[in-house]
């Protein structure tokens, strides 16, 4: 589906020559292997709340980074009040009044709120006048309706309060334009409300705010304008009230369903993996929230969702690396709560983690040495057998490597992923019943993606129960027989692949059920 007719190029927006506070013109940004921003136009008016909406890999974070000076565009320009600026660093961006608040806060936990705000202020006196800085910080906080105690120790604050500190910091440093990257990701619902109040106050005071988010449901009320991105391009830009959520969801995830999806050819067998009301609490927050699901032999259950919604914790729970705080996990009829990962594996579970080189493989060790990592080992390590295996899979999967003794960190992403799959899927094929796979094609080229999908399909045909947790919606749509959507650690939507309403999926991913 192409960009809808309503998609407009920014410069025509107001039909004239109004100066925009911040604009991107034909911005293109490339990273090795991916075109993150493709000829992107964007306009932000003064005092406007503007959301950049999109799923993972849409390019919205990249665009925001270009706008604040963290990245330099390969092509195109950034305009501030109509004049082009070449931002060489975030500090430079700040000098132009542009500040970005990142998803992961850059604060010193040990310091007070005031100390964090003034850190880096070059005009600060040599001897710090505590009262004076507390005053200044209080004044800014009040001015923008951000109640905070300047003396509070940041490490003891909640996520919402810490975000407030980051915002105050930006305002203190003279920001007129604030870019907020996934600002509600770490917030509980009541804190989200407070954030929106803050944003309204700032907008009234003439500041411009850009929300970078995938949470359509949250941002639709607060945004004066929403620009939707997908695959590096702008798919649409609508003002307040111009489009409904379904339309926006379509702009966000709408795509042609692949003509050749891979689906199960045979009916599924018995239930191999079952989660019943499984939860994981951390620091009082439910990162996995009452999840129930079932995977049967010979089927692929796909869990879709934007990254950061509990995927890794869910995977680690199933793999036995973490213990659930509630609920029951059953593998092939046996309750496995609290069983360590070794027991899980002994019971027929294989796990392909998202972080292939830092977790799934030992980077400095050879391919051969990595082949035995999750396999049962005796007192001695049988490298001969492992060597023969490695040779076999290098040929079968066409793994490009100088030799089986090469360290895995020297392999390309696709090839190291093939090693991981060879070990988890092929080498243990006889004993594996359940396969948990996370974002298996992240960062891979088209050819490697093909291979991986073929491998997963074959595993299904061989009767394995596959739980595919992926942030790549396309992948889930292509492979899964049943689709679940994960949002804030909970399953908010589930459907069979042949009865799929793509818009509902998009809405669920964006937090609207």
């Amino acid at each position: 589906m192409n960009a809808s007719p309503e998609a407009v190029k920014g410069s025509h927006r107001s039909g004239g020559a109004t100066l925009f506070a911040l604009s991107a013109r034909s911005v293109t940004k490339r990273f090795p292997g991916v075109l993150a921003n493709d000829d992107v136009d964007f306009d932000l008016a003064a005092g406007e709340v503007h959301t950049l909406l999109g799923e993972n890999g849409a390019g919205k974070s990249t665009l925001a980074s270009v706008l604040c000076g963290l990245y330099r565009p390969d092509e195109g320009a950034v305009l501030r009040n109509g004049t082009q600026v070449r931002l060489s660093s975030p500090r430079h961006g700040l000098q132009h009044g542009i500040a970005m608040v990142h998803q992961h806060f850059r604060l010193v936990d040990r310091f007070s709120v005031a100390e964090n705000v003034v850190l880096g202020d070059k005009r600060l006196s040599f001897f710090i006048d505590q009262d004076s800085i507390n005053d200044r910080v209080s004044r800014i906080a009040e001015e923008f309706g951000l109640p905070i105690d300047p003396l509070a120790v940041v490490g003891e604050l909640s996520a919402g309060q810490r975000q407030r500190v980051e915002i105050i910091k930006a305002l203190y440093q003279g920001a007129e334009i604030l870019l907020l990257d996934e600002p509600t990701a770490l917030l509980a619902p009541p804190e989200v409300e407070k954030l929106f109040e803050t944003v309204r106050t700032m907008a009234k005071a003439g500041k411009s705010v850009v929300f970078v988010s995938h949470k359509l449901g949250e941002v639709v009320d607060i945004s004066d304008r929403i620009t939707v991105m997908r695959d590096g391009k702008v798919t649409g830009s609508v003002g307040r009230g111009e489009a409904d959520t379904r339309k926006l969801a379509e702009l966000m995830v709408g795509r042609e369903i692949d003509l050749s999806p891979r689906k199960a050819k045979a009916p599924a067998g018995g239930t191999m993996l079952k989660l019943h009301n499984v939860s994981l609490h951390r620091d009082g927050v439910a990162v996995v929230d009452n999840v129930s699901l079932e995977v049967r032999a010979g089927e692929i259950v796909g869990v879709a969702g934007v990254s950061g919604n509990g995927q890794r914790d869910l995977a680690e729970l199933v793999a036995g690396l973490q213990s659930p705080t509630g609920g029951v996990i059953t593998v092939d009829g046996r309750e496995m709560n609290g069983a360590g990962t070794r027991e899980m594996r002994a019971n027929g579970l294989a796990y392909v983690p998202e972080d292939r080189l830092g977790t799934g493989l030992s980077p400095s060790l050879s391919i051969i040495d990595n082949m035995v990592l999750t396999r049962p080992r005796g007192l001695l390590v049988d490298r001969k057998a492992a060597g023969a295996e490695a040779e076999r899979y290098i040929t079968e999967l066409e793994i490009k490597t100088p030799s089986p003794h090469t360290a895995t960190r020297k392999l390309s992403g696709g090839n190291s992923q093939k090693v991981l799959l060879a070990r988890e899927i092929f080498a243990q094929s006889d004993t594996t019943k359940v396969l948990v796979v996370c974002s298996p094609t992240r960062g891979l080229d088209v050819g490697a993606v093909e291979t991986v999908h073929k491998v997963l399909d074959e595993a299904r045909t061989k009767g394995k129960a596959v739980l595919l947790i992926s942030e790549d919606l396309d992948e889930v749509l292509t492979l899964a027989d049943k689709i679940l959507v994960l949002y804030r650690g909970a399953v908010v939507h589930s459907a069979d692949s042949n009865a799929l309403d793509i818009e509902k999926v998009g809405l669920a991913m964006a937090g609207i059920s």
Binding site: R91, G320, G358, T359, V372, R377, V381
Partner: protein, 370 residues
């Protein structure tokens, strides 16, 4: 780092040439000799003749090389001890104290147990006893590390000083079983069955062969055993080890205990070989600290430790001869070279793994120089 209009950065090398691996230790040694040479010059000695004498007395003369091999024997053990632990980023710097405890433990077995054991068993029991005492001495730091994160460095070090005073106490300050009954402060000799004879008239004992075989055995063991495999995964990527279900605390404690045992073995070898008793003389040599340098220069490879141990033992033997020669040079010169070698090796290793990239900064000046 920004200098002038250029940015200088360190970048990891994708492929570092194999020959660099051997070049770095050799060049470090040469540079260390140069640096020490400067201090020799500064104190009025001729570096060239000094080094000439050093090499002669330490390596090329008959009694030189044999004395060196004799001293290398316990040094191989402390080197293995350090290599075993440091490979895993576990910084056991208490080898010195663990070695003293090994000496005490071996002497205890040699005095108390040996007479009741069949002749053949005496030496092995004595050696194992020393190893056990050495492991015991690292137990507290090991538990600290496993339970509470990095804290084994200073704690293992402090125990060195405690051990030192313990040895002094046993020989000078008390009348325990370790002390010879005569009025002169000296250690009590162990039973004859617990001793090994030297080779001919040299200072080389069969313990040298035991040490060398041990080094090779360790190399084989760590390469082919499951335990060795798990430690190498853990040392490479703790996340991967966790993913594979390996127990961090089990690996940490066992590695540290083994390291302590190896250092203790150095003490046992000293008892079984030249000393035959608790000998405060061992406190002067600094074999525990030297073991760390020996291990680092060998890049923590167990077989290479044999070579570097012989190298540093020779420096020490040569240095001792220099101290009493006609133009005396303080024996500390050997320690100076040791320290300097380690510093250069550290720097050199980083250059091997990374390379400098110098780039012109284009366009607008960048704020926030690093």
């Amino acid at each position: 780092m920004i200098v002038g209009g250029y940015r200088i950065e360190l970048e990891p090398r994708l492929k570092s040439p194999r020959w660099l691996v051997y070049v770095v230790p050799v060049v470090s040694l040469l540079f260390a000799f140069v640096v020490a040479g400067i201090f020799l010059l500064g104190t009025g000695h001729n570096p060239f003749t000094t080094y000439g004498k050093l090499i002669d007395k330490g390596y090329t003369s008959y009694y030189g090389i044999t004395d060196t091999l004799g001293l290398a024997t316990p040094l191989i053990c402390t080197g293995l001890a350090a290599a075993f632990a440091f490979r895993m980023n576990l910084f056991n710097i208490g080898e010195e104290g663990q070695m003293y405890l090994g000496m005490i433990g071996a002497a205890w077995a040699g005095i108390v147990l040996a007479d009741n054991l069949p002749g053949v068993a005496a030496v092995p029991v004595v050696m194992l006893s020393g190893a056990a005492f050495g492991a015991l001495w690292v137990l507290v730091p090991a538990v600290l590390r496993a339970r509470l994160g990095p804290s084994e460095t200073v704690s293992s070090l402090l125990l060195n000083y405690v051990a030192l005073n313990l040895v002094n106490f046993l020989i000078f300050g008390s009348r325990t079983l370790w002390r010879d009954p005569s009025p002169f402060p000296d250690g009590q000799l162990v039973a004859d069955s617990a001793r090994l004879d030297r080779f001919g008239t040299t200072n080389v004992y069969p313990t040298l062969l035991i040490a060398a075989i041990l080094a090779v055995f360790l190399w084989l063991f760590m390469r082919f055993s499951n335990y060795g495999y798990e430690t190498s995964v853990f040392a490479d990527s703790p996340n991967t080890a966790r993913y594979a279900g390996m127990s961090a605390s089990r690996l940490t404690v066992s590695v540290l205990l083994s390291s302590g045992a190896l250092a203790g073995l150095a003490g046992s070898m000293y008892v079984v070989g030249p000393a035959g008793k608790v000998d405060p003389g061992l406190l002067q040599v600094g074999l525990g600290y030297a073991g760390i340098v020996v291990a680092a220069l060998a890049r923590y490879n167990f077989v290479a430790v044999i070579l570097t141990a012989v190298l540093f033992a020779g420096l020490r033997v040569g240095g001792a001869a220099l101290q009493i020669s006609s133009d005396p040079v303080p024996i500390a010169i050997a320690t100076v070279i040791q320290g300097a070698v380690l510093l250069f090796a550290l720097g050199g290793e980083m250059f091997r793994k990374n390379r400098l990239r110098v780039r012109r900064i284009a366009g607008s000046p960048v704020r926030g120089a690093a």
